[in-house]
Symmetry: C2
DNA sequence: GACGAATTTAACCCTCTGGTACATTTTACC
DNA sequence: GGTAAAATGTACCAGAGGGTTAAATTCGTC
């Protein structure tokens, strides 16, 4: 009985670190929600992913739904941060746009959890996003980024006059998002050929070409 | 007590119609699953949507999961039937492709339940689609349709030599699918402008242009 | 019109799971 | 080193929801 004891003290206790616990819960919850959806996720399973208890989850996040919303908000925040880090200043309009498409394509591909959370949120008709105030201003910055490219492109006579930033963004998102979100059903229906590393590189090139082709004069 | 009686017979009974009941259950289940997902759907709610009981659902479909699979199979079957009805023979390659894009865009838009089922199935990594044998042969016909257009297009010198049917299909699907699947989160983030009737007509045109631009010489 | 199979009803059951009550330990602060 | 508040552990509950049991009713058919 006594040989398993490690510390000199008799009373076995734990260390407190509220912020780390909260962060751990959020991380585990993101994985769980991304994998199983809101109703499919199990609070117990979230607790099991890290070394904590259900009790702690409710202590910090009140209930399952608010935890989900916290996950969603955090996911959006981190994605936006990465997007903001992309600097396109100084590039000619067509190259800037190409670069943006490539970045988005890659970024979505390496953030499957985020994509899945957005899918799940769409299943819920975006019901939980209304509670996230921080979205409004920061998402428009994505459009403004394209807006700047468009203005420069039109001024340089490279882009057509009828291109609109919102539609460009929609197109980029559509293909970059679908590539991740529908990978499984697409693979089952049409094979996995398109999802090998080399094929994805080719596909990304095609997406860039496609966007540019519909924008350039 | 007695004034509410309608029929002359004393024993109030029911009529049997197994096929109709099964069809009703499938229809109600499709709506329920499309709305709430697999784990979010409630068998009791499916029963409540029509005039039947939970018991009947299990009687005909064994369990929730097999009911879901039946819904999925039926949904794919009906969509494929609609696709097969589209006749592009006789049209020049570019017009045929434009027509196909328009059709797919519209078709996805008017079949939100199907789109949502596919979204849900992707959340589940396509786990339930492996049980659907009927998919294999019929989905390849979608590719063959584009293949025919591509061959004609290349022969006519209209299309580039490096276009591949699978990528074309992927592009068409991506934009047509995303337009429906991500409508809610997109609207919340960037406004509903893109989803008015007129804007959707414009958007469809842009999608057609975009596909054609990346295919034509 | 009787008999067995198919279909429907009504009432349950039992597990899973979100959420809580209460005791205990840690920490900040004086 | 005492005290209150924050943080954690332990055990538990209540209800929801998938699935079942058993009896009643219908229907084909001989």
């Amino acid at each position: 009985m006594s040989e398993t004891e490690k510390s000199s003290k008799k009373t076995r206790t734990w260390k407190q670190d509220p912020e780390a616990v909260k962060a751990d819960i959020l991380k585990a919850a993101r994985a769980e929600f991304a994998e199983h959806g809101l109703s499919g996720a199990r609070v117990q399973d979230i607790a099991d992913r890290i070394k904590t208890s259900k009790r702690m989850i409710f202590y910090y996040f009140q209930d399952k739904e608010r935890l989900y919303e916290a996950v969603l908000e955090e996911a959006y925040r981190s994605v936006r941060k990465a997007e903001a880090a992309l600097n396109l200043d100084g590039l000619p309009p067509d190259q800037a746009l190409a670069r943006l498409v490539e970045f988005t394509f890659d970024h979505h591909r390496s953030n499957t959890d985020f994509i899945r959370l957005v899918m799940i949120e769409n299943i819920h008709a975006g019901r939980h996003m209304n509670n996230i105030a921080s979205l409004i201003d920061t998402n428009t910055s994505a459009i403004q980024q394209i807006e700047r490219i468009c203005v420069a492109g039109k001024k340089a006579g490279l882009f057509r006059d009828d291109v609109t930033p919102l539609v460009i963004h929609w197109q980029i998102s559509a293909m970059s998002f679908f590539n991740v979100s529908n990978r499984d059903t697409f693979s089952i229906n049409f094979g996995t050929d398109l999802f090998s590393e080399t094929a994805q590189t080719d596909l990304r090139k095609k997406v860039v070409e496609s966007i540019l082709a519909s924008v350039m004069r």
